[in-house]
Structures are given as structure tokens and as C-alpha cells.
């Protein structure tokens, strides 16, 4: 008979899902979900929740977001290495 209550099962769920090496805990969780259909569903759907999140590929970065990032970087990088004048060096000149 399972020693865990449903509440104990919930508190142990993460460690079980994260593949804890605690063999006794694994066995207790497995015994509990074998006997408790509700907790089996909670276990199964939580596991699937993680699978869906981990399985999805990052969306491509929107073209305009990428372009603005590169423009801002290039302006800063060139400035730093004494390259062509950008808006930052211009504003400095204007203050003189």
C-alpha cells in the first residue's frame, strides 16, 4: 500500500519529474500514482506540460527587431573603436 498521501505526492512531484536519484522516493511516488488515478493524471499532465514547453523551438526574431539591434550595436561598436562618426560622437562634438 502507498505510504504517500496525495499532498505528499504533490510535494514530491518535482523531484520525481526531475529524476531524483532518491530510489525510495521514486518508488513511493510510483506506488502512489499506481493506486491514485487523480494523482496519476496530475503527474502525467504535468510531465506533458514540461514536454510541450521544452519541445517548442524559439520563434525567429522579427526582422525589424534584429535590424534595430544590429544598428544600435554597430553604432556603439564603431564609435568605441574610433570608426566613422555616429550620433554619439556628433552629440559630443556639438557640446564643445
Amino acid at each position: 500500500m502507498s505510504l504517500l498521501t496525495c499532498k505528499d505526492f504533490l510535494l514530491a512531484l518535482n523531484e520525481y519529474l526531475d529524476e531524483t536519484e532518491d530510489a525510495a522516493l521514486r518508488r513511493e511516488v510510483e506506488e502512489h500514482i499506481d493506486e491514485c488515478p487523480n494523482c496519476w493524471v496530475v503527474f502525467d499532465t504535468t510531465k506533458k506540460t514540461l514536454q510541450v514547453f521544452k519541445g517548442i523551438q524559439p520563434q525567429d526574431i522579427p526582422e525589424d527587431v534584429h535590424r534595430r539591434l544590429m544598428e544600435r550595436l554597430q553604432s556603439r561598436l564603431r564609435h568605441r573603436h574610433g570608426g566613422s562618426k555616429d550620433s554619439e560622437s556628433k552629440s559630443k562634438d556639438a557640446k564643445k
Binding site: L13, V41, I56, R76, H81
Partner: protein, 208 residues
């Protein structure tokens, strides 16, 4: 990814980083192109706001470039970037909302919030039944409905796959707090996704 693969990839990064440290702009741009997508996703997930995420993206790479000299190479370059991006994202959150829901310290973890309301089996293979676009919309909606304190822990642990210790250190939380928040985040997301993915026509006891 296998360990040798991961090592090879990190070594590739280290070479680019060391060239960038010597002023090779192209090497730095290669690093940007390699990681911009993931950093943008991270920022969107934490801030739940497209505009803020774009700011975070830009600030992260600008800061990374100006602090490149301080990168020691004893952690992965990507992990180092994630640290900067998380800090920038948290600053955005704090700036945008002054209500208490944003505080990382909010909530005493009594365990009382760990509840399960909805129990229903899911349809088979939700990943096959929904397009990537549909799935993304569902996941985005689910994640942005979490409180920032839970959302941030979930993103770092389950999407970025940082360890509990790294997450705790990054967010200034204790290890038990990270664990408790992760459990609440996972269970809340499970409930939210159940609304989309529950097997149609099932009643609650159909699995018996």
C-alpha cells in the same frame, strides 16, 4: 546535447569571445547572431511585453560588449549573457509595475497555494494536433498569466535549464524558495494547458 558537443560549442564561443575582446567586431556580431533569438525569447517570457523585451535584448548585448573584458571564461558565455538579460528584464518589470506582484520577495512559501483544481486527461500528442504558431500562442498566454515571481523561476529552470542553485543565486532566493515556486509554476501551467488540451468529450472520470 551530449557533453562533448556542448564543450565543442562552448569552445567555439570562447574563441569568438577572445577575438571580440581584442576588438574584433565581426566576432562579437557572430555571438549576437547566435544567441539573439534565445535572449529575445527569455526577455519576452520574463517581461511579457514585446517593447520591453526589445530594450532588454539591446541592453544585454551592449552591456555584454562593454563588460567583455570581465568575462573570465569559467562559465559558459551563454550563461553569462542570461545573467545580464535576467537582470535587465527584472529591472524592466520593476519599472513598469510598481504593484507588489512584481516583487521577487513576495509571498511566504507556506505550501498552501499548492493546489490542484482541474484533473482531466489530455488529448494524444497536442504537439501534433496544433500548429507551432497555435502552440506558441497558447504557451505565451499561459506563461504570461503567471505572477512574475513564479514565471521567472519557471523560465530559468525549465526553459533555460539552469540548475536550482544557479537560479537561486541569480534571483537572490533561497533554494527552498526556488523549489517551491517552481512547483507552483508547473502546477499552475498544467491547469492552464489542461483547458486547451483536455480530451474532448471526456468527463472527469473517463480515465477510471
Amino acid at each position: 546535447m551530449s557533453e562533448p558537443q556542448q564543450r565543442a560549442r562552448s569552445n567555439g564561443d570562447l574563441e569568438l569571445v577572445s577575438r571580440a575582446q581584442q576588438g574584433d567586431i565581426e566576432a562579437f556580431e557572430k555571438l549576437v547572431m547566435k544567441y539573439e533569438k534565445k535572449i529575445f525569447r527569455l526577455a519576452r517570457n520574463i517581461t511579457s511585453n514585446q517593447e520591453d523585451a526589445e530594450d532588454v535584448l539591446q541592453e544585454t548585448f551592449l552591456k555584454a560588449y562593454s563588460h567583455l573584458g570581465g568575462f573570465q571564461g569559467n562559465s559558459r558565455f551563454y550563461t553569462w549573457l542570461v545573467r545580464i538579460a535576467v537582470n535587465e528584464s527584472l529591472m524592466k518589470l520593476r519599472k513598469r509595475k510598481s504593484d507588489r506582484t512584481v516583487s521577487m520577495d513576495e509571498g511566504i512559501d507556506t505550501g498552501e497555494e499548492i493546489v490542484v483544481r482541474e484533473v482531466a486527461v489530455w488529448e494524444d500528442d497536442p504537439e501534433q494536433r496544433h500548429s507551432q504558431t497555435e502552440l506558441r500562442a497558447i504557451l505565451d498566454q499561459a506563461i504570461s498569466s503567471l505572477k512574475p515571481a513564479l514565471r521567472t523561476v519557471f523560465v530559468l529552470r525549465d526553459i533555460e535549464e539552469l540548475s536550482t542553485e544557479e537560479t537561486a543565486q541569480l534571483l537572490g532566493l533561497s533554494i527552498p524558495a526556488v523549489k517551491s515556486r517552481l512547483l507552483r509554476a508547473r502546477l499552475q501551467l498544467r491547469e492552464k494547458l489542461t483547458r486547451f488540451f483536455r480530451r474532448k468529450g471526456d468527463d472527469v472520470f473517463a480515465y477510471l
